[in-house]
Every structure is written in structure tokens, then in C-alpha cells.
């Protein structure tokens, strides 16, 4: 679990210690907030008139996400998703759709790992980071595929390692 060496993730929990300390994994990994998004996903619907959409797959565990974005004048007016998979992948998609609404598409391209762990607020090991990042990667893929203009410098990754 200590593969990327980066130590602290959002929430002040040391990621390198995932395998050592006495953690109640149920409480930590499946905080009520995540389970709530998993059980009652927000914006889980297809958007037939989406201006940007993409499918993403996490071959590791078979998570699947399809992201739908409506981008108007460079701004994300609507964001929704469809998918199936583990609680982390589906809850992070649900949270992400809320975060994306109203955001500049170019800014969304710059979001990285810290944005997702910041929303999930749990320690995520290197393996499950793929679940946590699937929705964001898919949304960014959708924006790029739709050929959205990238505003000055906003496309660079803000917080990826």
C-alpha cells in the first residue's frame, strides 16, 4: 500500500500506514457518506443530448463508468453518469458529477488525485486509487474527445504525481 511514497492523503491519514495500524476498515473505508452516495447515487442517469461523453473501465475489478457532460460556452452545465462497480468507483462518480456542475471544462481537465481523495476523505491505497480515479479520468476523456478548447494553461495537471 505504500507504493507511491506520497504519505499523507486528504483527511490527515497516512496512506503508507494502511496495512499497519488498527483501523476499523468498515468505518474508515466505507464512511456513511460514501455508502450514501453508493446507495443513492446523485445524477445517475443518461443524458441523450450530452455534448461530451465517454466510457471508462477499470480492468482490475471490472468497474464501468459512462460519463455524460453538457458543456455550454466552455462551462459544464450538467454532469451525469451511468455505471456499475464497487462502492468507491460509484460513489466517487456520484460526488464528481456534483463537483463538475458549473465548473469550466478546462479547469476540470486539470483535476487530479487530490480532488478525488479530498471528496472521498478516506485513505486510498495505490490499488484502489484506480477505482477512485475512474470517473474523473472518464470525464476528462469525454472533454478531450469533444475537442473542448483548453484555456490558457488550465489543462495542466494540478496535483497529479
Amino acid at each position: 500500500m505504500s507504493g507511491n511514497g506520497a504519505g499523507r492523503s486528504a483527511g490527515g491519514v497516512d496512506r503508507d500506514q494502511v496495512g499497519e495500524g488498527e483501523l476499523t476498515q468498515e468505518q474508515l473505508l466505507y464512511r456513511e457518506n460514501i455508502l450514501d452516495h453508493y446507495r443513492n447515487p446523485r445524477n445517475r442517469r443518461r443524458v441523450p443530448d450530452a455534448t461530451a461523453s465517454a466510457r471508462g473501465k477499470n480492468p482490475l475489478c471490472g468497474d464501468e463508468i459512462e460519463m455524460f457532460l453538457v458543456v455550454e460556452h466552455g462551462k459544464i452545465a450538467d454532469a451525469a453518469f451511468e455505471g456499475k462497480g464497487c462502492a468507491i468507483s460509484q460513489a466517487s462518480a456520484s460526488m464528481l458529477t456534483r463537483k463538475l456542475k458549473g465548473m469550466e471544462a478546462a479547469h476540470a481537465l486539470g483535476l487530479g488525485q487530490e480532488s478525488m481523495t479530498g471528496m472521498l476523505r478516506i485513505p486510498i491505497g495505490v490499488v484502489r486509487m484506480k477505482c477512485a480515479m475512474l470517473a474523473l479520468r472518464t470525464a476528462q476523456d469525454a472533454i478531450r474527445k469533444a475537442g473542448m478548447p483548453v484555456a490558457d494553461g488550465a489543462g495542466k495537471q494540478e496535483d497529479d504525481q
Binding site: 496495512g19 499497519e20 495500524g21 488498527e22 483501523l23 476499523t24 476498515q25 468498515e26 474508515l28 473505508l29 466505507y30 455508502l35 482490475l60 475489478c61 471490472g62 468497474d63 456499475k84 462497480g85 464497487c86 462502492a87 468507491i88 468507483s89 484502489r128 477505482c131
Partner: protein, 413 residues
């Protein structure tokens, strides 16, 4: 299982467990319950010490130097080859050291397929990707047909379809000795007889069989047999390819470099005899020595005892697991005819979530499609959780697993 003070089965098991340093650590403040040996097994001190001793005392390159360390290293490397050969019932010169089962099968496939003039490659639907993708891709490149034998509803191989499929057009039959997902043990000897009668070669993926079953390649009658060090309590990055002596002698190398040649001129190269022909470059010497130590370790305990112990654990686990509400076992429901790779689904909970909650209880299982997407597709499940049994698994491990599974249902209930 080995020499225990009191000679009892429980004392034997405790003695075996004491040989594995990792088993004494805790995870999240809980005793480690390691049920992921089908992905990779833990290592006994005998393996760790053999590698450590080599690196600390006798380290040198093999086959070249004439100094003392080179002699020692070469002797240890070749002794390891002989140990692996003894484990598989083969001769030392029939064992090629590779990077693992995937490496072994790739060498076999890349050497064999270009020599075929069309025809068919037969594989099964329960193959790990390592024994599927390479045949699928080479069949495409060389204009061959890929025939996939399905799995029956009882999770055994459809032998009627196998019999019907093997014929004059068959060039190779490639199949797993035991399935890494279902646990099913395939009738290797029977399939090899069918193939031989049709003039086809056989390539067996033995990665999941060697740690659990007595494997005798001559008795099975296969042409090529692949296995990995790390699944048989040895190190990663090393594996073996057994090849029948006369077959290896007429196989061309799959890749090229030093150490594998007889003579090199500007225009031509002639090959060294097997197995060197298939081992270009400096090999994974420490890995081979570790795999040799693992082979000795397995033989010292004996496959009869290993199989009996694991059958006991599987027979104990299957009904307890089946009784967990919402749990479905994806594989044969009885302990006979299977190894202890037990895959299951838990209704309403994604396997990754199952594995994560179990981890909080110190229980290590694997979740996903276990590198067998065609199988999961045929079974109509996206992914599964898998608890897998090894030489050190106890009934208490199974009890902890079953209790932890109930808490999964509480979290997601």
C-alpha cells in the same frame, strides 16, 4: 505435515506455519489470515535463506567464469534445475528456467506456432489470460483458428466438446491443469491422450496445480508444462517450462542473445542444446535458486500430505461458505476434483468491497476477474471474490473468513 514434536495433524500444521515468517505479522491489529495463495503464496524461511545465502556468499554470474564463486553459483543454479525437475518428474535437461508461467507459455507458443501450416489451436474457456491471449494473438498472426472448449454448468470442462474438437486439424491443445478461478482440476492425462492420438501437441498451464497436486509430467503424458515459482512458495520473476526432451531438441528458440548459442558467425548462428537454447542472457539466478529451494520444501512435506490437508480445509470451508446468506460459490461444490481456489459472489456487494471489508478483519482475499475475462463473461458474472487455500491454511482461518463475511453484509445490508 512435517516432523512435528507430537506427530499430530495440528502439531504438523503449526510446525509448517512456523516456517513462514509473514504469517506471524498482524494486519490492522488483527492476525493475518492469508487466503490469497492462488495469487501468490507466502515464502518459507528455507526459500528466503537459500536466496540470501546465494546473494551473501556465492554471488556470481553462471556458466561463464572459472573462479570459485562462478563455480558455486553455476552449481547452485543447475542444482535448482534438478530440484524442479524432480518435483515435476522430469529430467534436468527438460527444464527451462523462465520468468514465470506467462514467460513459459510465451516461449512455447512463439516457438511452436510459426512452424504450423494453418490448422487449429484448442484452448478452454477457463484459461488464465496467460494461456489464452498468446494463443489467440498468434492464431490471428499465423492464420490459424482458435477453438474454445466451454465449461459445463457444474464448472467442469466439457469433455464431450473437447473430444469432438480434437482432430486432424488440431496442432496444439493448451489447457490449465487446475483453474485459478473455479478450482476445477482438469483431466490432464485424458486430454493429452486425445491430443496425442490426433498428432497434436499439448501445453499445460500448471501454475495452480504444482503447489497443490503431485505432478508427474511423464505420467500425464504432456509435451510442455508451465509453472511459476511464486505460486509454489518460491520467489517471483522465475518459472519453469518443462519440455519433452526430443521436442525441445527440435524446437527453435523463441528469442535470441548470448548464452544460448553454439556458434555465431557473421551469417549464421547455431543453437546450444536445450535447455540453454531457451535461456538467452543472464538468467534470474537467485530466483532459480529460490524456486529450487521451494521444490525441495514441497518434496520434504510431500504432495500426499499437502493434498490431504488442503482437501480437509476445502471440505470444511465449502459448506460454511455456502451457508452465508447471499453467497454463491463459483466452482465445483464438493471438495473432490478441485483445488482450494474458492471463488464466490455475495449478492448485492461488489467483490472489491467484499475484499476491502475482509481486509479490515485481517483477511486477505483476491477480488476481480482473476485474469480470466472470457470465463467470467461465459459465466455471466463481472467479477468474483476468491479465497484460496495453501499449505498453511487452518480451519480457524476459514472461521475468521466466514465471520468477516457476515460483517460485510452488515456494512452493505
Amino acid at each position: 505435515m512435517s516432523a512435528a514434536a507430537d506427530g499430530s495433524a495440528a502439531g504438523d500444521l503449526a510446525a509448517v506455519r512456523a516456517m513462514f515468517p509473514a504469517l506471524s505479522r498482524s494486519v490492522h491489529g488483527k492476525r493475518l489470515v492469508y487466503l490469497d495463495s492462488a495469487a501468490s503464496a507466502q515464502k518459507p524461511s528455507a526459500v528466503l535463506d537459500a536466496m540470501d545465502d546465494f546473494y551473501s556468499r556465492s554471488y556470481a554470474n553462471v556458466h561463464r567464469g572459472v573462479h570459485a564463486l562462478a563455480e558455486e553459483a553455476t552449481a547452485a543454479y543447475e542444482e535448482a534445475r534438478a530440484d524442479v525437475a524432480r518435483l515435476l518428474g522430469a529430467h534436468a535437461d527438460e527444464i527451462v528456467f523462465t520468468s514465470g508461467t506467462t514467460g513459459s507459455i510465451n516461449i512455447a507458443a512463439h516457438s511452436l506456432v510459426p512452424t504450423f501450416d494453418g490448422g487449429e489451436i484448442v484452448v478452454t474457456a477457463m484459461e488464465h489470460h496467460s494461456n489464452f491471449v498468446v494463443w489467440q494473438q498468434l492464431a490471428k498472426r499465423h492464420g490459424m483458428a482458435l477453438v474454445v472448449i466451454p465449461v459445463r454448468p457444474d464448472f467442469t470442462l466439457d469433455m464431450a466438446r473437447m473430444r469432438a474438437a480434437i482432430g486432424p486439424a488440431t496442432r496444439v491443445v493448451a489447457f490449465s491443469h487446475a483453474s485459478n478461478v473455479l478450482g476445477t482440476i482438469n483431466p490432464a492425462k485424458e486430454i493429452c491422450e486425445l491430443a496425442r492420438a490426433a498428432g497434436a501437441l499439448t501445453v499445460i498451464d500448471g501454475a495452480q496445480a504444482v503447489p497443490h497436486l503431485r505432478v508427474d509430467v511423464e505420467e500425464i503424458g504432456c509435451d510442455l508444462y508451465a509453472c511459476s515459482g511464486h505460486k509454489m512458495y518460491g520467489p517471483t520473476g522465475i518459472g519453469a517450462l518443462y519440455g519433452r526432451r526430443e521436442l525441445l531438441a527440435r524446437m527453435a528458440p523463441a528469442w535470441f542473445g548470448g548464452e544460448m548459442v553454439h556458434e555465431v558467425t557473421i551469417k549464421e548462428t547455431t543453437w546450444a542444446e536445450p535447455p540453454m537454447r531457451f535461456e538467452p542472457g543472464t538468467p534470474n539466478i537467485a530466483g532459480a535458486i529460490g524456486m529450487g529451494a521451494a521444490a525441495r520444501f514441497l518434496r520434504s512435506i510431500g504432495h500426499g500430505r499437502i493434498a490431504a490437508h488442503e482437501r480437509d480445509i476445502v471440505a470444511y470451508a465449502l459448506p460454511l461458505l455456502a451457508a452465508v446468506p447471499g453467497l454463491s460459490i463459483i466452482g465445483p461444490q464438493a471438495a473432490e476434483g478441485r483445488i482450494g481456489a474458492i471463488s464466490f459472489t455475495l449478492e448485492g456487494v461488489h467483490p472489491h468491497d467484499v475484499a476491502a471489508v475482509l481486509d479490515g478483519h485481517g483477511v486477505a482475499v483476491r477480488a476481480g476477474h482473476h485474469c480470466a475475462q472470457p470465463l467470467h463473461c461465459m459465466l455471466g458474472v463481472d467479477s468474483t471474490s476468491r479465497a484460496s487455500v495453501g499449505i498453511y491454511t487452518t480451519r480457524d482461518d476459514i472461521d475468521v473468513l466466514v465471520r468477516a463475511l457476515s460483517s460485510v453484509r452488515e456494512v452493505f445490508g
